[in-house]
Structure formats: structure tokens, C-alpha cells
């Protein structure tokens, strides 16, 4: 079976997981209002968030020639969170268009900050990029914590947001985030060739006729859009963007021709399943889905770190 045909199977796999997830939950023999009114929007939210993060991860890993990248590690998610917290401080509601603008700006600026800090020589090394990402994330998280300490009236809703999860799945937010993720994935699918040549490094990409500054800007914008849309729905859910592209590369090969779209689909699949576990594993208590992804993701990150140590 060739790789294009294999990719087609991801769509029914996502649909099957979503259908199965409808019947998983804390309530046994749930009625139609629970299944369609509560679980379906939540499964759709998991799909949108997973797609956005999986796509962003595959973009960052290709663009930065760095297998250890994802929106969580590079500080993109923390930037989006800081934007969301700023909105909360300024009284900008999550349904307002300005909310998305601020969250996107936070994501984009944090990504560029990490990149600029890491870029000591021609091209940032794998380790420098991860360290810069940690520094940016830690700093932004500290600001968020400071805000929460000073303005306690906001902090309870923000705690859930920080842990990552789908507690208030609002339908208009779902539609806006879904549209943004679909648009970003569509644009990425058109520009995939540039991620292939950037996987050889910025210098080689330049010799192959690409303008590195322009391409970097375009993909940072697309990945920040998709991450911002995900964070707006579910807060910071880590490691989806790290794990999913690595697994799918083993199945579909390294070329971004298939990797970008399949990472979006694979991210959706992964997060639908993780959320089903989050809802049922310790029922009636719900585990934040970010906790589930971190439990799988952090060991995976360590394994990758050891494997890539000393390269690039």
C-alpha cells in the first residue's frame, strides 16, 4: 500500500474514535442530551485542539530542523496563555474577536522571542532552541502566576485553563477555532515543499531558492494561529505536537507533503482518545487532559532527547 492510500485511513479512524468516544463517560447509559449536548461538542473540541497542536508540531519540527520542537516546548502555548490571561485582566471575553487577536499575538511573539534567543550563530542548535523555549515559557508562566496571585477573583477559571482541558466547550468558540485550524492546515498543505527544504537547514533552503526570512515568518504565523486557536479552546495541552508527527513519520515518511495533514488528523485522533481516558479513568472525578498527554509526552520527550543528543 503506498503512503497516500495509507493516509486516507486516518479519516475513518478519527471518525470511529469520535463515534466510540460518544459512548464513554462518567454517566452509564447516558441519554441523548448528554451524548449530543455535552459529549459531542467536547469531542469536536478535542479534535480541533488535537489537529491544531499536531499541525503546529509538524510545522515547527520541519521549519527549525529540530525534532524536539512543539508549541508547548517552544513557548508558543505559554505566549497564547499569557494573551488569554491578559484578556481576562482587561475584561475581554472569550467570545470577542479581539480575544483571538490577543491570544495569537502572544503566541507569535513568544515563538519569535524563543527563536531569537536561540539564534546565536547561523542556525539555532537543537539544544539552544529547547533551552530558550524553557526560559520563555517559565518567564511567561511566572507572569501568569503573579497575575493570579494578585487578582484572586479570576484565578479559579484560569487554573483549569492552565492545566489544559475542555471544561467549558462553547459552540461559537468551537466554530471559530475549528475554522482557524482548518485554514492554517489548508495553507500549510499548499506550502509543504518549503518545510521539506527547511528540514535541511536554513542555509541549504536558501541555496534551493527560498527566502528564509519570509518562509519563517509565514510558518511561524500559521503555527501560532493554529496553536492560539487550540489554546483558546482548551488552555495548554502539552506534547501532542511533539509525539504525533514522530509517530506519523514512521508510517508516512518524512516528506511534509503527507506529514502536515496527517499530523492534524493524527493529533485529532490522539486527543479524542486522551480525552475519553480523561473523562472515564477516575470517574466521577475528571482528570485534566493536559495531565494525560504529559504523562505520555514527557517520557517520550526524554527518549527523543537522548536519541538526538549531540546532533545538529
Amino acid at each position: 500500500m503506498n503512503n497516500n492510500r495509507k493516509m486516507v485511513w486516518l479519516v475513518p479512524a478519527v471518525l470511529a474514535a469520535a463515534a466510540a468516544a460518544l459512548f464513554f463517560g462518567a454517566v452509564k447509559n447516558a441519554g441523548p442530551d448528554i451524548i449530543w449536548g455535552l459529549r459531542l461538542p467536547r469531542i469536536l473540541a478535542a479534535a480541533v485542539v488535537g489537529a491544531g497542536l499536531g499541525f503546529s508540531g509538524s510545522v515547527f519540527q520541519g521549519l527549525l530542523k529540530n525534532p524536539l520542537s512543539d508549541p508547548y516546548i517552544l513557548g508558543t502555548s505559554a505566549g497564547a496563555m499569557a494573551g488569554a490571561v491578559l484578556c481576562s485582566a482587561l475584561g475581554i471575553g472569550r467570545a470577542e474577536p479581539l480575544f483571538y487577536v490577543v491570544v495569537f499575538t502572544g503566541a507569535f511573539l513568544a515563538t519569535f522571542l524563543t527563536y531569537s534567543l536561540a539564534k546565536i550563530k547561523n542556525h539555532p542548535s537543537v539544544a539552544h532552541l529547547v533551552l530558550a523555549g524553557v526560559a520563555v515559557s517559565t518567564f511567561l508562566t511566572a507572569l501568569i502566576m503573579l497575575f493570579m496571585t494578585l487578582y484572586r477573583e479570576h484565578s479559579l477559571s484560569l487554573v483549569y485553563f492552565l492545566l489544559g482541558g475542555f471544561f467549558p466547550a462553547d459552540n461559537s468558540l468551537l466554530a471559530v477555532s475549528g475554522g482557524i485550524v482548518a485554514g492554517a492546515v489548508g495553507a500549510g498543505a499548499m506550502l509543504w515543499r518549503y518545510l521539506d527544504i527547511f528540514s535541511l537547514g536554513e542555509e541549504k533552503a536558501s541555496y534551493l531558492g527560498a527566502d528564509p526570512d519570509m518562509i519563517r515568518l509565514a510558518f511561524f504565523a500559521l503555527a501560532s494561529l493554529a496553536t492560539a486557536a487550540a489554546v483558546a479552546l482548551a488552555g495548554t495541552v502539552g506534547f501532542v505536537g511533539l509525539i504525533v508527527p514522530h509517530i506519523l513519520r514512521l508510517v508516512f515518511g518524512a516528506s511534509h507533503r503527507r506529514l502536515l495533514v496527517s499530523s492534524a488528523l493524527g493529533g485529532a485522533l490522539f486527543l479524542i482518545l486522551a480525552d475519553a481516558v480523561a473523562r472515564t479513568a477516575a470517574a466521577p472525578v475528571e482528570i485534566p487532559v493536559g495531565v494525560i498527554t504529559a504523562v505520555f509526552g514527557a517520557p517520550f520527550f526524554i527518549w527523543l532527547l537522548r536519541r538526538t543528543a549531540g546532533e545538529g
Binding site: S199, G201, Y207, L208, S255, G312
Partner: protein, 260 residues
């Protein structure tokens, strides 16, 4: 013969330290130019300057009569291809996918590679002698096969000028000969200009037509390789005091020097 590259008094400094100090040479179609010199004499930096990747701090590099820095990136990539000495590839791209990337400068940004690009890539894989490696991961290859893959990628750009930075430095003698034969053929029958930075003096003296010899802080020689790759010039460029050691190790060069 058309002049491809004309370098006029090119200078370049990294943070105030001069890396390339006043280099002059010309590269024509069908030229096979050897660029040699000790470590730190600015050979690799010179390749980045004449390919337009870096801007010289003084002097200029002209490509087909126009400043190389004035070309749009895609147009430049259709004229000049560059093969770096080592390239780490974090993901398992197939050889075909790597070579296909060489067609990038011919594809408009919103489009995909065409059928014609695929055909060209298959032609080039045959020409370079690696059609059987097509579906192999680039990270599973031997160093020699890997180097041939990146030369094939450069050839997929259909360039007029091919620049290579130490293409054979960690290869066995079989691949060294194979690659130098290929480069010589590309220059003589393909009509390409080929410039090679290398420390393989014996191979260069057998294949290169012209030589550019650099030393720290300047240029020792530019001209025909037969005349330039002499014991005297090499001793001067590399700072070898005992010229007798060159006579023992590379006797053909010393003899050539006497003839000139």
C-alpha cells in the same frame, strides 16, 4: 567561453577578524577550479561569498556580469548550486525526495512539483549512478552514497555553476575517484563551471584545470592548475618550512613546479 563568476578584491570579516582578504579570480564555463589552502584561510567563506549567501565587506562577486547579491533567490538557485561538506538531516527522507528538492527553484510557491520534475530527477539519479538508491532513506546510506545524493540534488537545480565544499574529505578512495570523475565530466562535457574546495591535493592535480591557492590573510596563486599546484606554492600557502617533505610525499607536484 562565457565568464560565470568574476571575483574582484573580495574581502570579508567575521566580527572584525578578517576571514577572506582580497581574493581575485574568474571562473568560466567548463572550468574545473580547485580552491585550496590551510584551515582558516577562508575557503568555505569564499564559496558563501561567490554564491551570494554572504555579502562581502569590500569588493564584489559578479555572476554573468551582474552583482551576485542583486539576483532574486530563486533565480540564483537556478544558476548556482552548492554542496556543503556535511549536512545533518534529522528525518528519514528518501533519496528521491532529497533530489526532488533540487527542483524547488523551478516551482512557483503555490504549486507542487510536476511530472517533468520527477522525470528530471530520475534522469539525474541515473547520470550520477545511484538509480537503485531511489527509495532508500538518506540516513541509511554510506558516506559516499550520501555525497552522491547531495550532488544529484545540486544537479537537479540544472545550475551553470556547481560549488562543492570538501566533497570527498571522509570518503574512501573508490568514491573519491568516482566523484572527481563525475565532476570533471560535468565540467568538460556538461559545460558547467565547477569549483571545489578540497584537501585532496593529489586528486586535484589530476583533475582540476585551474587552481586558486589561499593562505591566511591573502591569495598565493590563481591560474592554470599545472602551474599553480607546485611544491613552492603549496609550501608557501600552508607554511611548510621543510619543502623536501613535499618532494617526498607529492613528487609529481614538485616536478611540475620545476617545469613551470
Amino acid at each position: 567561453m562565457t565568464s560565470l563568476i568574476k571575483a574582484e578584491n573580495i574581502k570579508f570579516s567575521y566580527n572584525g577578524t578578517p576571514a577572506v582578504a582580497g581574493v581575485n579570480f574568474e571562473l568560466l564555463e567548463k572550468d574545473f577550479l580547485a580552491i585550496i589552502g590551510p584551515n582558516g584561510s577562508g575557503k568555505s567563506t569564499l564559496l558563501r561569498l561567490i554564491s551570494g549567501f554572504l555579502a562581502p565587506s569590500e569588493g564584489s562577486a559578479g555572476l554573468l556580469g551582474r552583482n551576485v547579491r542583486a539576483y532574486p533567490k530563486a533565480e540564483l538557485a537556478r544558476l548556482i548550486a552548492y554542496v556543503p561538506s556535511e549536512l545533518y538531516v534529522p528525518y528519514d527522507f528518501s533519496v528521491f525526495e532529497i533530489v526532488l528538492m533540487g527542483r524547488s527553484p523551478y516551482v512557483a510557491w503555490w504549486r507542487n512539483y510536476s511530472e517533468a520534475d520527477t522525470i528530471r530527477v530520475l534522469e539525474i539519479l541515473r547520470k550520477v549512478g545511484i538509480p537503485d538508491l531511489k527509495d532508500r532513506s538518506v540516513n541509511s546510506l554510506s558516506s559516499g552514497e550520501r555525497q552522491l545524493t547531495f550532488i544529484a540534488q545540486a544537479l537537479a537545480q540544472d545550475p551553470k555553476l556547481l560549488l562543492l565544499d570538501e566533497p570527498t574529505s571522509h570518503l574512501d578512495i573508490n568514491y573519491k575517484i568516482q566523484i572527481f570523475e563525475l565532476l570533471a565530466r560535468l565540467a568538460s562535457t556538461g559545460g558547467m563551471g565547477v569549483a571545489v574546495v578540497s584537501h585532496d591535493l593529489a586528486l586535484l592535480s589530476a583533475y582540476a584545470g585551474k587552481a586558486l591557492i589561499l593562505k591566511k590573510g591573502g591569495q598565493v596563486f590563481y591560474g592554470p592548475a599545472e602551474e599553480g599546484l607546485s611544491g613552492v606554492n603549496i609550501a608557501s600557502a600552508y607554511g611548510i618550512r621543510d619543502a623536501g617533505s613535499i618532494a617526498r610525499l607529492l613528487p609529481h607536484m614538485v616536478n611540475r613546479g620545476k617545469m613551470a
